[in-house]
Amino acid sequence: MVMTCARVRELASGFVLGALEPEEMIAVQDHLDGCAEPHPEVDELGGVLPYIAQSLAPVEPPAWLRESVIEAAKADLAGSRRMAMATTSAPAGAVNAAPAPHLVAVARSSRTRVVPFSAFAARHRRALAWTSRAAAALLVVSLAGYAFVVQNDLNTARSQSTANPYGVIGPNTRVAKLSPSDASSQAAGLAVLQPSGHVFVQVNHLDATSGDQVYMVWVTADHGVTSKIGWFTVDSSGTAQMDFTNVPNSASLWLFICKEPNSNVATPGAVYLGGTISL
């Protein structure tokens, strides 16, 4: 879509409100990014927006939200420090910890269908809040931070990838180690986000399921919405491999597995394994 300065001026009000059609929003932004001419109208009109929000009467959120925000920030900080340590400590040949911007574009272009979640969110918003707090409380670590600590797991996965149909780990994949919430558990796993948007999950040392029991796989995207992407059962081997395609696009995904009495559960139970995939 060709965009002239005059056209941008016409569209400025819709642009600052985010009310243009998506292709127009992109075209205006591209023009502003590359145009040598000043466009003060965008700043002038857009500058009004914070005052619209200011017209609202303040509303006090629940007190626990402050602690939740701060704890999540602390966990984030811990992850960043681990990342810095991994960057300086990773041995030669370790997984590339640098962000892969091209992967963002690939993931976005896959346009995966978001699991319909409105009803779930409406009925179980308490659970959403719970998952947010749980996400903050559990180990939330960027993938890059794992570059060093999961090297052994990755080497294992690489050796296995030659024998599986997924080509699990490659140059454009992102990996997260899945750790048990119970420190005494031997359960472990890997989640691999592939450029196609698929997530491959491999787990080991899980308790066998029986009857209707399943392991349900949930993801919480970075906007806080949690959805289940599938379930699996485990025999006495304690291992399973899965490939999920209905994964929401997100800059980061907290993937966690819960053992459930059946596959019809609507809210997550106790977290069995979990980890964060970050771009």
Partner: protein, 214 residues
């Protein structure tokens, strides 16, 4: 018609510098800075998230997500581009509308929210010298002074996240009318808040292309 200032506070401003220092702390990973910013803006952020999402649980998630976004992107904050308050509220609105859109329909979504905040979120606050003397009541009165049709269009876009086309469908007004109302409403609101008209503002997209005034 300009709204006379109701609350006059010193401009200039120790609070701006304080915000700058707080953002420096946050960018340096100092939790205390985030705590102070949360204490200062949480009720405004939550009010906006709740107004957009209309669900307490979702609004709580949006607020948490937004403060984390601020925490992770503090190094990209540019003081000359506006206040921390404006920046944070833009993040809250962006994420709340995104959550709202996801809730609305089980349609395939393209662009996803991430920590790489859209550059349009860095639109500056207008006129810091004005911000210091505007309180919520002044802004509410300025908005109420807008013609209802213009106010409705702006609120449908700002709080409900509707596009101009969606607004036209919902209100039954022609798309061109919606665009005109949106532009005129924003220009009028700017004039209400500042008492100034700026010739740099875009012309009304009308057939004869003449520059319009609010």
């Amino acid at each position: 018609m300009a709204v006379p200032p109701r609350t006059v506070t010193p401009v200039g401003s120790s609070e701006d510098q304080s915000e700058s220092e707080l953002m420096r702390q946050v960018a340096a990973g100092e939790i205390g800075g985030l705590e102070t910013l949360y204490d200062r803006y949480h009720s405004m952020a939550y009010a906006l998230a709740l107004r957009i999402t209309t669900e307490t649980g979702l609004a709580e998630d949006v607020v948490q997500d937004s403060f984390l976004g601020l925490w992770r992107n503090a190094g990209r904050y540019a003081q000359e581009r506006g206040s921390v308050r404006g920046w944070l509220l833009a993040i809250v609105r962006h994420r709340a509308i995104d959550a709202l859109r996801r809730q609305r329909a089980s349609v395939a979504l393209g662009e996803e929210p991430d920590d790489a905040l859209p550059s349009m979120l860095t639109l500056p606050d207008i006129w810091p010298e004005v911000a210091g003397r505007l309180d919520g009541e002044s802004v509410r009165r300025a908005i109420l002074l807008l013609p209802p049709a213009q106010r409705d269009v702006i609120e449908l876009a700002y709080f409900d996240g509707l596009t101009q086309r969606e607004i036209a469908e919902r209100t039954g007004a022609p798309l061109g009318t919606v665009k005109s109302r949106m532009r005129l409403g924003l220009v009028a609101l700017r004039v209400q808040l500042t008492g100034q008209y700026d010739d740099s503002l875009p012309p009304t997209p009308s057939a004869n292309g003449k520059k319009g005034r609010a």
